[in-house]
Subunit: 628 residues, 2 copies
């Protein structure tokens, strides 16, 4: 495999480099007083050969589109990763000594704070699905020959998300993707389910449509040949199943249980046993390709606009707005979890089939693919029922650690979906997604708002979530109204408002009906459409708190963590602290019509009017009706 | 297979019954105006044969411990399920007509509101992992010969959770578990990844250690033989891979795309084509076993107690309390996600190895197994890092719909874990889990609290979450203090308190230090330990609101959805509405020491004291220090 013109380091060098990576891993963890040296030592030879002879990285330019991508899915092997970056000249000796210290880029688990790291890892089972997203970009969108390498631990093969990735990558034929499983047999507390049964891993990979290669993960020649073989496989992804020993090279820990996640007891001896410190540097090969990434064409496309007073569903508006964005921006791509005729991502898919990814019912892989596509500069929107984003919550959490851009749409929000019942109702989505650092949570009440908010999302970094409805709502927003992240829309207002009703999504219609009802009873209610739940338009909320005696919030969501809490937060420290009364879904819903279920949950117009009446007059609905 | 003494309905009957199930499914969805008749029709023969000749159900007693368990993982096939229960005499004709109506037990997707349903389904990929939990109970705990049958859709095989179940069930050798995959080829919008390639499913099952049987899912004899074969397989679970046609029996929809999730256009003709209404009733065989379920022995065991003033970690206290509960209660079982030496579930595992389940790194399967074990009456506690419960969030959401008892422990809460970095820090767990209907969220500050709260959790129905810490905290609670769900502990209080600091977990120590510091500066702070974040001790919070001018909340969690919001909620409608100032983690943490990270996040004693000082005096820390 080594020709005369081959300028790459030879295999003897790789073996020595492997020892260097081990030594540096041991030393790093020892200095830090924590870390995972043994998990690093098992994979050191795999990484030494990869970086010396197969990986293509232009380290002068982390943005070079031709760069390969390497994801340490077993993020706890960060000592190995940083030792590798040190050998590649990215990290100097001084920085290496800052491992796990405050302000260091070398965190306990890798994050993109240290280039060329694409994504944060450390929650196991996420690296491979994200790698699938990057490989999709390379093969289907950019159409560049870069390769995606993912180093996986054997313990994380227990995560279902890994098998979502196996299924999907094979179905897409991602032959630019290579998974490397470091089968060191030992997890944190015991042997894995499969131990050293590398054939079992190979059988599973084969059954899932991958090309498996079993190697001795400490035989540099076998590893080298495996990487060559992987590069030559066409039409399917390759997995290199490497039989390794945890703690390889140091007798006190090698293949020993109970040695996970802690520095070696006698690091000095271990380093000596490994042959002492070395100082090899590797000129990682730059990419040898200079082809231009594929570009898509933009087209003219009317911006969706809906006449005020008509009715429409915000999920249909999502599809239409996405199709418009897709036509006018070549960077927009879409993914959906096999419900595109429900979320209406199919509108985009019909118009831009080359930029649409059907992800089937695998929400973790979908979120991960969106993150992966985002690292390559694509503005990806991913959709499914809002309820099912709960399936990918850990991926969203980690996307925030990755400083990733992740744009989610969740349809079928709340009890207003009706007869399908609670399994299909998003009721905890705003709470869980508001808690994500730096997130944006949007819940438009009509179709025109969707277009504006989707446009904002496309330009917004970080994690954003658009919550849309199954049923139809009245279009109240004019197509040219300024609607944007952080805004709100005052639906009705007067100088004599007694009370303010704050609503979002389906409850805006209910709030308006309630205000109509209350008006006939002598109570004047301001109605604010808080389509931007996070960030909330706090100024408008505080003005309402100053102008009116009470705030009533109403949302088709659990009482915790949604609009009501956002409003409470907004007035928590203001000089005026009005009574805030929250209406939300505090029952376990069943099937029924949307109207029945909203009534049962106490979030329909009648419930809102009742709550306002009691606040304003101390009298319940029937009393109020009689006396007003 | 039919002997002379066989009193079971014969196969001709089964074929007719299959048609009845189809007709009833079509009629039910037609009346409701929604539903999934075609997904029901594909599996009708599989269910007809199962209920007539293989399922053992004592329908007089849903609690009979010998009953088989049947989970419709493809919960959208609820018409088939209810048609089956109708044929079994559980649902009368009148109730069948209430499908999908308000107040009907026959919801759009099955829930335990209609016995003998064990769990709610409708979020795909959950039935099989829950079935694994029930099968674990049957085989390992109850030691009864009942069987667990799970009807899966082919679309849901894309969910990673299904493969977590495949791996785990094989590893445990659950030969009492049979999965039936209804391979009808068509998902909601298109063909599945594998279409009708039943061999591919079989290859995957084989590679994962299962015994696969491929059948024509409309050949009642082949189905019958497959069930017999499944019952005879020893040492491994069986999967019956049934090639079926979606919409089988009605030409207008049979094997046609675009027919998912909607009533048939011409139900009357379809029913005619299926041979019209039938009225067969099936005497489902009762279990023929009357052996007693295995019981475990209880032992004497000291209740853990820690001396006030000592230091300890609440995670270690979790392990100790769990071991104590396990010794004194035979119904207590524990599960852990391969981090038992971190969560200290290993303390239980060491003492009660027969009631401990190592679930490896598969949080979805772990949550599902806990739900399954709960349906069999076991008081199951499941633990992993709090951050990684995000992986199973949809399972927790669905557990609420199942009215399941689910007891979770999440360790390594917050930035106070230190050097491992943000991927390992639970920072959104309280927000996401507070939003679950009826949930309890507990965050004890010391070891003695843990014992009391775990005891309460064991007796509490529904979903409860115990959040514990990596590091040590000071024991302030005496072993005999009354600590319980819904309570709080006032750490310091006087009649002259200027301000109240509300804390939980690690921030209680910080709050006390802050109060000490403030005392030297002339500010008297009440400190309340809100170990029960949901339900919050609202009376105590409101009393503090009445007694002091401001409330400062401090938590090692995101600002949204945690303690601060619970406190805001508690005072939202009270007559006294004090300023509430929330301190929480509103940065993306890095590595560092616990002290550094708490300081960087603004939740350490100094930050608390500063915030209080500004509230009370309008002056910042340094100014305050100078002038006080």
């Amino acid at each position: 495999m080594t020709t005369s013109s081959d300028t790459r380091p030879d295999l003897d060098f790789c073996a020595e480099l492997g020892q260097q990576l081990r030594v540096d891993s041991v030393a790093m963890s020892d200095r830090a007083g924590s870390g995972h040296p043994t998990s690093s030592m098992s994979a050191a030879d795999l990484i030494a050969v990869l970086m010396s002879r197969h990986l293509h990285w232009d380290l002068q330019s982390a943005d070079n589109p031709h760069n390969d991508h390497l994801i340490f899915s077993k993020g706890h092997a960060s000592p190995l990763y940083y030792a590798m970056l040190h050998a590649a000249g990215v990290i100097d000796e001084q920085e290496l000594r800052t491992y796990r210290q405050l302000d260091s880029r070398l965190e306990g688990h890798p994050t993109p704070r240290i280039p060329p790291t694409d994504v944060a890892t450390g929650s196991l089972g996420q690296g491979l699905p994200i790698g699938v997203g990057i490989a999709l970009s390379g093969k289907e969108l950019e159409q560049l020959p870069y390769r995606v390498w993912v180093l996986c631990g054997d313990s994380e093969m227990a995560e279902g998300s890994v098998w979502e990735a196996f299924q999907y990558a094979a179905w897409r034929g991602l032959d630019n993707l290579t998974a490397i499983i470091d089968v060191n047999r030992l997890g944190q507390t015991r042997e894995t389910m499969l131990g050293h049964d590398v054939q079992a891993y190979a059988d599973r990979a084969t059954a899932f449509g991958w090309h498996p290669i079993i190697v001795d993960g400490h035989d540099v020649q076998a590893i080298d040949e495996a990487y060559d073989e992987a590069a030559g496989v066409s039409g399917k992804p390759t997995v290199i199943i490497a039989r390794t020993l945890k703690g390889k090279g140091v007798k006190a820990v090698e293949d020993e249980p109970g040695k996970h996640g802690k520095p070696l007891e006698d690091a000095a001896s271990a380093i000596q046993e490994l042959g002492g410190f070395r100082d090899f540097e590797v000129d990682v090969q730059p990419p040898d390709d200079d082809s231009q990434p594929h570009r898509f064409r933009t087209q003219d496309h009317d911006r969706p606009a809906y006449e005020v007073g008509t009715e429409g569903s915000t999920r249909e508006a999502y599809g239409a707005a996405l199709a418009w964005l897709g036509a006018t921006r070549e960077d927009v791509v879409a993914l959906d979890g096999e419900v595109s005729n429900s979320t209406h991502a199919d509108t985009f898919a019909d118009e831009q089939p080359d930029r649409y990814f059907e992800m089937f019912i695998a929400e973790q892989q979908m979120a991960a693919a969106a993150v992966g596509l985002g690292t390559r500069g694509w503005t990806a929107f991913a959709s499914t029922f809002g309820a099912f984003w709960a399936r990918a919550y850990d991926f969203v959490r980690m996307a925030a650690v990755s400083r990733a851009d992740l744009r989610l749409c969740g349809s079928h929000a709340g009890v207003s979906i009706g007869a399908d019942g609670p399994s299909q109702m998003a009721l905890e989505d705003m709470a869980s997604l508001r808690a994500i650092h730096g997130s944006v949570v949007l819940h438009p009440s009509d179709a025109n708002q969707v277009t504006c908010l989707l446009e904002d999302m496309a330009d917004r970094a970080g994690i954003s979530y658009l919550r849309v409805l199954r049923g139809k709502t009245t279009v109240r927003t004019a197509p040219d109204e300024p609607i944007g992240i952080g805004g709100s829309r005052t639906v009705r207002q007067s100088e004599q408002d007694d009370v303010t009703i704050l609503a979002c999504g389906v409850t805006v219609d209910q709030a308006v009906q309630a205000a109509d009802l209350l008006a006939t009873q002598g109570i004047t209610a301001r109605v604010i459409d808080c389509y931007s739940v996070k960030p909330l338009d706090e100024d408008t909320v505080r003005r309402a708190a100053a102008d009116t005696t009470a705030l009533v919030t109403v949302e088709d969501h659990r009482p915790e963590g949604g609009l009501g809490d956002a409003v409470l937060e907004a007035v928590a420290e203001s000089a005026l602290r009005p009574t805030v009364h929250k209406l939300a879904v505090d029952v376990m819903p069943t099937s029924g019509t949307p109207e029945e279920l909203m009534h049962a949950a106490g979030i329909d117009a009648e419930s809102v009017a009742d709550a306002v009446r009691i606040l304003c007059t101390g009298r319940s609905g029937s009393e109020g009706k009689a006396s007003l």
